[in-house]
Symmetry: C2
Subunit: 324 residues, 2 copies
């Protein structure tokens, strides 16, 4: 017999944190779609819009959208004209996020499977709410005494974003020119020194989507998730200077760490998804799974928020009522 007493929702609480914009910002903020060549590719907050108004030859702010000037002829012209504005903003310290200029670009797509419309420095995409795509590898071990364990990294204290925080073993953004699996393999080698012989066992295991907001901007993130069962004796070894240490955590250790402020908020959904898929988190107690989340179905929805629907909204119906 199911009972209806209120129990705590440890993972739902975290899911609301990494979805702070989906839960609180999206229904309340008056953001406008960012439109390039007739496609919505982003979402612009009012505070960002105010700054973009200073560049009317590049950004056309309309009642219901912010449009990149449709007179720009192609990928190269769009990229150059936006870059020019961003460099000026960077020089003027207009946006905090541009202090972390990366000199590494993300492509801006309508849909990932379509050709890109322009490219933009990684640090700038959050200003326009451009969708980010990344890749994460969960390196795990079945330890004879500790049971299921997951490798995590501590980010280098010199990293521009989330310095010193706990993070997934291997992850990376889908940069210009790299495919999903290619990125996974490249990052596994650079970030954790995983040899090719072990990498043949990485297994595509799903994708998580969530919508986070920070002082830097908007983060509609989609992570392609891979699982990799590692030999017990293997120890990851960083090769690019971005990792402080690697640690192998048991389920009990993970449970403590993931809810702490020492964990990179936008990496926690991947760990929670891993714990769900491996049967660790359960909808009810009763022998199955060791951690309970009473709002299990809601948690699963918040690991896969409808970014596709948010960015490809149906036109308003006749009475102007947007249902989606």
């Amino acid at each position: 017999m199911s009972s209806y007493k209120r129990t705590s929702s440890p993972f739902l609480k975290i899911a609301k944190k990494f979805n702070c914009f989906y839960i609180n910002g999206l229904p309340k903020r008056h953001c406008k779609p960012f439109v390039v060549e007739g496609h919505q590719v982003g979402l612009v907050r009012p505070d960002i819009m105010v700054e973009l108004l200073r560049y009317p030859e590049v950004f056309i702010v309309r009642p219901d959208s912010v449009e990149l000037n449709p007179a720009f002829r192609d990928f190269d012209e769009r990229t150059a004209r936006v870059e020019q504005v961003l460099q000026e903003c960077r020089a003027n310290n207009t946006f905090v996020t541009l202090k972390g200029w990366r000199n590494e670009c993300y492509n801006v797509h309508s849909v990932l499977t379509d050709p890109p419309l322009l490219r933009m420095d990684r640090s700038a995409t959050c200003l326009f709410g451009i969708r980010n795509y990344g890749v994460t590898i969960n390196g795990f071990v079945h330890d004879a005494t500790r049971g299921l364990c997951l490798w995590l990294q501590r980010r280098s204290p010199t990293k521009e974003t989330w310095p010193g925080k706990w993070d997934n073993m291997v992850s990376g953004g889908l940069s210009v020119g790299y495919g999903v699996i290619e990125t996974a393999i490249k990052e596994a080698q650079e970030e954790a020194g995983i040899p090719e012989t072990m990498l043949k066992d990485i297994r595509p295991s799903g994708a998580v989507s969530f919508f986070f907001e920070s002082e830097r901007g908007l983060f509609p993130n989609t992570e392609y998730v891979f699982d990799l069962k590692l030999p017990c004796e293997f120890i990851p070894k960083n090769n690019d200077g971005e990792v402080e240490t690697f640690d192998l955590l048991s389920i009990n250790e993970l449970k403590e760490i993931i809810a702490s402020p020492d964990f990179k908020t936008t990496s926690s959904p991947i760990v929670i998804d891993f714990l769900v898929r491996h049967g660790v988190i359960s909808p009810e107690t009763g022998g199955l799974g060791s951690l309970q989340e009473p709002n299990y179905a809601q948690l699963l929805e918040l690991l896969h928020v409808p970014l596709q629907s948010i960015y490809h909204r149906a036109p308003p119906s006749e009475n102007g009522d947007k249902v989606l």
Copy 2:
């Protein structure tokens, strides 16, 4: 280097079928929230509303909602008054779905973890777009020659809904009085004769949510998913007369069958989720996974549509623009 040529999306195509209401109906149909005791518990289509207008002492049709008369005092009175209307509709053949009256009730909740507000026959919940919760067990085998294989059932040709169709090995709705894990175990014994010794290995593996529509009504479904690795020699045996046969299918056989009209549409998301979690479906070709879905991230979103957000919509913002 990723390429942008259009490739076919076999699984996305199926996901749009079991989400036909989420994709096409929800943005376009003028449905109204069904409200009980101040909580939205359902969604009512205009064609159903027309019939409910004949019972103004039970259903109050307002400009922006259909409300169950708030004068009803408690669970029992709400249940009895709705039942009375449904029995009259059933006698008058008002709704096709009521021909399949089940004499088995679903609880109607605001949230599953809260006490129920009323109960209603299973055949009637689709008229009000009440959320359904169910449980599915994926029984799978690692066959030495055929590789990963999944047990499926053929539904009995005498079943009221989806007669003779391919279906998951074990599934059942969360009926009044049963918990999630309890339902899984009960159904596994009744539907597939799985002995208790094997059942101790069932593993909670997530939940899928989707929003289907048929001539019978609206189906906002959430399925709690369990995986169960079975011994190669075990053969499921039905004990309740609802199953015609069980068959063990290889990945290649599954791939053919799942896209066919012989597969119960509302059971296919659970199979697709299984194939994603077991690394069979991959975002790209390249050695990993045997089946490719180029719109992988979108597929994952459509296996977990935001029923929670749809049923607990934030109030419209000041300018009347509903973003979610």
